[in-house]
Symmetry: C2
Subunit: 576 residues, 2 copies
């Protein structure tokens, strides 16, 4: 299918199919969502108003047989951070949308009738808007079940749970995965943006169409080399065995595992929640320790976590969610954590933002540290029902801090700081501070080099080299996020000389072009600058590129270090 | 008494008496609080953390016999707006502090023990810190009652209610008035700052000391002329008869009375809540239609509103509070409004911020428009008890908008827009947008000239002349706020040629100096620039000097006008 722009205007419920503008042709995923937002959205608009747009774009290689290319990007002005925002996830929709020729789906405007809900249905002929009543108020698991019945098992589903319907700023956009479970475009409250458009879900018709490949033979060759580089990589292997949760013990050992709302860098209960324990538990209960979130993934970092009776409990059970509910909230019971993770999947809530919000709520005395059952109860009874407490928690960590007058609130640009303490792992602090999207480890994952020794080694406790490290990784990540590739290709790309050239060969074979490594770097830099320009026009300044003051004043055990990178050093990030 | 700086460090509970630095000698009230904050507070600090300071300063003329000179300024970095903030009110403390030689009381640091509460006691020898248990958790009326018993009826009291103890960003600082009722330093959540210092109240010992006056004869002559100008002014007279609530009918007639969360400019129930109805009700019930908030006031805009049984219900029952609970929440029952006003006085909540928050909550469906009894119930049962809903409401209008995903949220810099619609009265929109302290009518009260015809006439519906009008008034206001004078002297100052010269004569006679009118203007400009510089250093930009987008897009009845002043025109405000 030829690539086209699918556009939906919710103000008058009209749809349009547009030719892809010349300047957007070389873009996909984050590169495209950020470019469209920067071009079409007023940076100072209300994120939940009619002037914001939600842009959904498969990556440049999505829909092809390229390994690990099934990530779908969603972009908008974020109601959580006020910045430009892109979040991507696996699931089945990226590849299906690409095969329908969807370069991007742009959703704009806002219905004039506040009471009505709608759905979109994407097919090769275009996109249709329909009023929806049946699944309104349902959790994500029920939505997938109903739509599978209504539209067939193979239908693609992009949906919001009750959190998005209630326009909570912790709401994510959820995508059906190959096993009818949930993948989450997790950060920045993009689910609230879809909710503000009064769209409950987007269904994608199954298709036998294929994405055109300019040089199929060269593509095959490149893909073989690329997949081999991924499979051979030792970190890929560890991710396949233990999932991302392999990191609990590693980060605890490094002293950078934020514990008890960021008051310590090590958690006494780390063994109980570690990837090794999780793996053994899954195996003992007959769950699935290895699982992929989208077809074509060769790493398989996901898993199916089952309860004591062997029933499905959750999947895509990530280190960051387990850390946040575990160490940060002091819950050392993996079943409670899995239950909470599943509830967040069902409600459609960012599990990092929400769990860090619970950590702040615990500091405020709303519930005791360690109360995993209490977390589950609040998610079910309060957040799910939209009570005032539920809305405070569902609005994220900063909202909890404001409501309860807490000063120790781990956020940057109003977004929760994830699973790596910036005092003990300084590179990631630079990423949190300078990211165009608020605190987000995936924007420039310095843990690779600071802790895992991938792509060299930069001492996590030293001030030296952190800005350069974060900058290089943020540039590379912006480019990778545009290809539809999972970020976990970065481990191979940093350490295996065949990986990045194969990725470039894939792009060249797909489009019949001649990109070089420099072109890819330039693409990454250009995306960051586009995003930064949007934020500056929205009123952000370098004063927003700062960590909360407690990081500079409270030393964290066991290294007893504070955040000590100067404002000038942070600001030098943008010298490129 | 010689003027000195009284300083309290709550981190180690130490106190110090300091000589007034040369550059602070010519400053008082807002000029001094803003100068101290700008000099000593890191603009990016957490407003509830140990780096913020609360500065309390009487005006330059406070403590003297000058008419209307009893306003007390409190300043800090605001936890509501993030900007520099000054709020002033009457009551008995300004004059008492001045007579004790307190040029400013600076409270800094933060106790290391989170569980303890303290009080300060100011006397001529200095200030002492004491642990406090008895009045913790009490409402303001009870605090005054207990302290009157403990320290004698004449004691000055500056306190916070439960809202400030809970560090709600809608909390004000409350001051005992001559009748043991409450005056409020209302805006910007300064009560939360005092609460964050774990100080429940500041008591001020009665004193027979006098403020030194350099030329007593000249002072007396000037005061006579000044008081006459105030008393003779027709607006002073109207304020004395009907209180500020005389404005309900006037602003309704102008089409600028924001109604039903700013969806209309006129309120069908305006007669029921008007100043005229209030006056007649007070007279019929044997209340007090005229009352002063501090000794020496010759305008007497306050009143004692009684219930059906003739019992005290509330005082200082202002137009802005009555508008917000009345027109904005569609409550046309003055008794419900008085009950809510009294509850807010007791809880220590900004009645503008909180009532506008109720309007947004009504739009969100939390309670129906018009439900005055519901407002009282929520104040008593939710805000007073610190429930999650109470904390959302007590955090102000923007917090309610964020929690419920409302896009029509009337705030600037996170602070609620008060009682004059900027679409129908454009001058005040410039004040809301450009004020260094978030939306605040008192920062540059263009209603005087736009509606009341004081100081000339500028058509409220025209774009012409509004920036100049707001600029001139904001400069004059910054100067007036430094003298300890009530802002209502401005009506006489604008229209009576004898008023401003007498005020300058008062200052000159007090200090033995030779200020000119230009000096006063220069002081006002300098204060605004100091405040603006603080905000810029805190990360604010001209993007923050904007009204919410709905004002530009939703025409307001009856004039069917939108906010149409360009960004460039707004930004030209600072061209001085």
């Amino acid at each position: 299918m030829a690539e086209q722009i699918f556009r939906v205007n919710m103000s008058d419920l009209s749809t349009k199919i547009e030719t892809v503008p010349e300047e957007w042709k070389g873009l996909g995923g984050r590169g495209l969502t950020s470019t469209v937002i920067a071009a079409e959205v007023n940076p100072t608009c209300h994120p939940l108003g009619k002037h914001n747009k939600l842009v959904i774009a498969p990556g440049l290689l999505s829909g092809t047989p390229a390994a690990n290319s099934g990530r779908l990007s969603c972009g908008a002005k974020s109601p959580l951070t006020g910045t430009i925002k892109e979040a991507n996830a696996g699931g089945t929709s990226a590849q299906m949308l690409a095969r329908h020729g969807v370069k991007a789906l742009i959703i704009e405007g806002k219905p004039t009738d506040n009471g009505k809900w709608y759905s979109l249905h994407v097919h090769s002929g275009g996109v249709t808007v329909q009023e929806e009543t049946e699944v309104i108020g349902m959790g994500n698991f029920a939505v997938v079940e109903v739509l599978n019945k209504r539209l067939g098992d193979k239908v693609g589903v992009i949906t919001i749970g009750p959190a998005g319907e209630m326009r909570m700023t912790g709401a994510n956009i959820s995508i059906k995965d190959p096993d009818n479970h949930i993948r989450s475009n997790g950060r920045g409250g993009l689910g609230a943006v879809l909710g503000s458009k009064q769209i409950k879900f987007i269904s994608v018709e199954p298709t036998s169409e294929k994405v055109a490949i300019a040089d199929p033979e060269a593509f095959k060759t490149a893909n073989r080399a690329f997949a081999k580089a991924l499979v051979d990589n030792p970190i890929s292997k560890a991710l396949g065995q233990y999932g991302t949760n392999v990191l609990v013990n590693i980060i605890n050992e490094s002293g950078g595992l934020p514990t008890r709302n960021f008051t310590s860098g090590q958690f006494a209960g780390h063994e109980a929640i570690s990837g090794e324990t999780m793996h053994d538990t899954i195996v003992a209960r007959g769950g699935k320790p290895k699982h992929n979130c989208h077809a074509g993934c060769v790493i398989n970092c996901s898993q199916i976590y089952t309860d004591l009776k062997g029933q499905y409990k959750t999947s895509g059970f990530e280190y960051e969610s387990i850390w946040a509910l575990g160490a940060d909230c002091c819950v050392d019971n993996l079943d409670h954590i899995a239950e909470a993770d599943s509830l967040m999947d069902d409600l459609g809530l960012d599990s990092i933002e929400t769990a860090v919000a619970f950590g702040v709520a615990m500091e405020a005395g709303v519930l005791p540290f360690g109360d995993g059952a209490g977390i589950c109860r609040i998610l079910r009874e309060e957040v799910g029902k939209g009570t005032p407490l539920g809305r405070i928690i569902g609005s994220g960590a900063a909202a909890v801090g404001r409501a309860y007058g807490v000063t120790r609130v781990p956020v940057v640009k109003n977004q929760a700081i994830p699973a790596y303490d910036p005092r003990a792992i300084k590179g990631i602090g630079i990423t949190y501070a300078t990211s165009t999207q608020g605190a987000d480890h995936t924007m420039g994952y310095t843990i690779a080099t600071n802790i895992l020794g991938v792509g060299g080694k930069v001492d996590p406790l030293s001030k030296e080299g952190q800005v350069e490290l974060s900058r290089n990784l943020q540039i590379a990540t912006a480019a990778i996020d545009s290809t539809g590739m999972c970020l976990f290709i970065a481990f191979a790309a940093l350490d295996d000389a065949t990986c990045l050239p194969s990725l470039i060969d894939l792009l060249n074979a797909r489009f019949g072009i001649n990109l070089t490594a420099d072109d890819v770097t330039n693409l990454g830099m250009s995306i960051l600058k586009t995003e930064r320009a949007f934020n500056l026009a929205a009123g952000f300044t370098n004063k927003d590129d700062r960590l909360p003051e407690f990081f500079a004043e409270e030393p964290i055990a066991p290294h007893n270090v504070v955040w000590d990178i100067s404002d000038e050093a942070i600001d030098s990030f943008w010298d490129f």
